[in-house]
């Protein structure tokens, strides 16, 4: 019973956060704002589902499953990169340079400026 309640709770929380993530995507005005939404779905939404799944198999089916952890690991590794790329894309295509604050350093943001040259590293090349 406890297991069922636990699993159900995670499921419901996950569902809510997942829905909120997509809702944010729908509701929010600006692309940068909308970009925040999937992180919800990813973290607590899918995370909740995965935890529920682990708990379900562990508690109800008596079987320890690590697969869900693996998916979580994957999502946590990839989601920031995805977000970064989408943000870059949006900034490059949808914003002007002056919409962004200055970097405060001698080089501009990466999409507008070439990186400084570095000493070549020969030794490491195979």
């Amino acid at each position: 019973m406890f297991a069922e309640i636990l699993v159900s709770a995670f499921l419901i929380i996950a569902g809510i956060f997942g829905l909120v993530g997509s809702l944010g995507l729908l509701k929010l005005d600006d692309t940068m704002q909308r970009l925040h939404a999937p992180t919800k779905a990813t973290t607590l939404g899918v995370g909740g589902v995965l935890i529920a799944s682990m708990l379900y198999f562990l508690l109800v089916k008596d079987k320890l499953s690590f697969h869900e952890l693996l998916i979580t690991l994957f999502l946590f590794l990839t989601a920031p990169v995805t977000a970064l790329f989408i943000a870059q894309t949006h900034i490059l295509m949808g914003l002007r340079r002056r919409d962004l604050p200055p970097t405060g350093g001698e080089h501009d943001w990466s999409i507008y400026d070439d990186p400084p040259e570095q000493e070549p590293r020969e030794a490491d090349q195979t």
């Binding site: 509701k27 929010l28 919800k40 697969h67 870059q88 970097t103 501009d108």
Partner: protein
């Protein structure tokens, strides 16, 4: 020599772990196979990963991860509230420039990832020379405090871990 066999020992460990998670069963055969793959795969991919990242205090990563998880939960709720109940006009999004003290590429990556994963902030751009990070904040009235929080709460700890 050892560096050739174990170009990235931590990666090897991770891969063994991943293997066991994949097969979902810890048996001698699986450990052997996983260990084997954990050695072979890094060797095969080592040309793409020149150099070895330095980790000064790897154990500090554990509290860091726990902290981030907690932050994710808390911030998730906050953002959900914003999405659900805040009228669109009253959402004050801001750009925040975070000057970086970190110099390790790995550390910067983890920091940027942390920022993105914790709801409410998304790392959007790095400066071309990697000295500052542009963060988009979903709703804040005080961008400076956001920046300071990032620097103290996350960057400082990462500095400890990566050195």
């Amino acid at each position: 020599m050892l560096k050739r066999i174990f170009p990235h020992p931590l990666l090897s460990m991770t891969l063994l772990l991943v293997w066991l998670m994949l097969v979902n069963k810890v048996t001698p055969g699986n450990v052997l196979l996983g260990g084997f793959l954990g050695i072979v795969v890094p060797i095969l991919t080592s040309p793409y990963w020149p150099g070895r990242p330095r980790l000064k205090r790897p154990l500090m990563a554990v509290p860091y991860v726990l902290l981030v998880i907690w932050d994710i939960i808390v911030a998730n709720i906050q953002v959900a509230m914003i999405i659900l109940f805040k009228p669109r006009a009253r959402i004050h999004s801001k750009w925040v420039v975070v000057p970086l003290d970190l110099t390790s590429a790995e550390a910067i990556t983890v920091l940027a990832g942390t920022i993105t994963m914790t709801p409410g902030t998304v790392s959007a751009l790095l400066s071309a020379d990697g000295t500052s990070l542009l963060v988009h904040c979903l709703h804040t009235d005080d961008p400076d405090s956001v920046r300071d929080e990032i620097k103290t709460r996350y960057e400082a700890r990462l500095k400890e871990i990566f050195g």
